[in-house]
């Protein structure tokens, strides 16, 4: 399998999008009470390849602005 070079690699990004689409199509009928937008967000997060960057800390900057 070729080395996954992350979300900036067009082929890796397409493969990731296909995995998300396939999972969404398979799971949406089984989980009808989950909002479709939330389901897509959750699948994007769960299926994100391990080597791709993740950001999850909010930092309070000057002037009270939160950034990540």
């Amino acid at each position: 399998m070729p080395k996954d070079s992350g979300p900036h690699d067009a082929a890796a990004l397409e493969a990731y999008a296909e995995r998300v689409r396939e999972a969404r199509d398979r799971l949406a009928p089984r989980l009808p009470d989950i909002d479709p937008g939330d389901l897509l967000l959750i699948l994007q997060s769960l299926l994100r390849p391990a080597g791709w960057e993740r950001r999850f800390f909010l930092r309070l900057e000057r002037h009270g602005v939160h950034v990540f």
Binding site: L31, I42, L43, Q44, L46, E53, R54, F56
Partner: protein
């Protein structure tokens, strides 16, 4: 790796260097298992022993001179201030009385850079936030519960 992952990797290295056995709990535990949420701190569960209390000083030094502050006179939680992200040390158990050993028996191991984090299971994170029932925990619960259901469906 993002700066957030680098921070966690550095924290895990500092824990190893200081000899503190800790389990990642709370929101970061959920994030490391795919929950699409954000947070401002890291919660770690430790056993409350005299040795571990001594090791906290070493941990602070390994984190570049963090300072431990008791979160409240009514709580044993210690917050390490100084690092770019606050680190909360919770001792022995998390709500609703889930003990260190029980949490560890169900924990998962998640690679973070060159380190491996021992992370409370997503189900335990949900149970703990349900029991805490603080507004910020309750706000996260719907997406955490949905993440758990989707994760289980993907695995079945």
């Amino acid at each position: 790796m993002s700066s957030d992952e680098r921070f966690l990797e550095r924290l895990l290295a500092a824990l190893e260097e200081s000899g503190v056995e800790a389990i990642v709990v709370g929101t970061v535990a959920a994030v490391l298992q795919g929950a699409p949420i954000m947070t401002q701190d890291v919660d770690l569960l430790l056993r409350d022993t005299p040795k571990n209390r001594e090791k906290i000083d070493r941990l602070c030094a390994a984190l570049g001179g963090a300072k431990p502050i008791q979160a409240s006179p009514l709580s044993s939680t210690v917050t390490l201030v100084g690092p770019s992200i606050a680190v909360d040390l919770v001792f022995d158990q998390i709500p609703p009385g889930l003990g260190f050993e029980k949490i560890r028996s169900r924990a998962v191991r998640v690679p973070v850079g060159s380190r491996v984090a021992v992370v409370a299971s997503l189900a335990d994170v949900v149970t703990s936030k349900e029991a805490s029932a603080r507004p910020k925990d309750l706000a996260q619960l719907p997406i955490l519960r949905d993440t758990l259901r989707v994760k289980r469906s993907l695995e079945s």
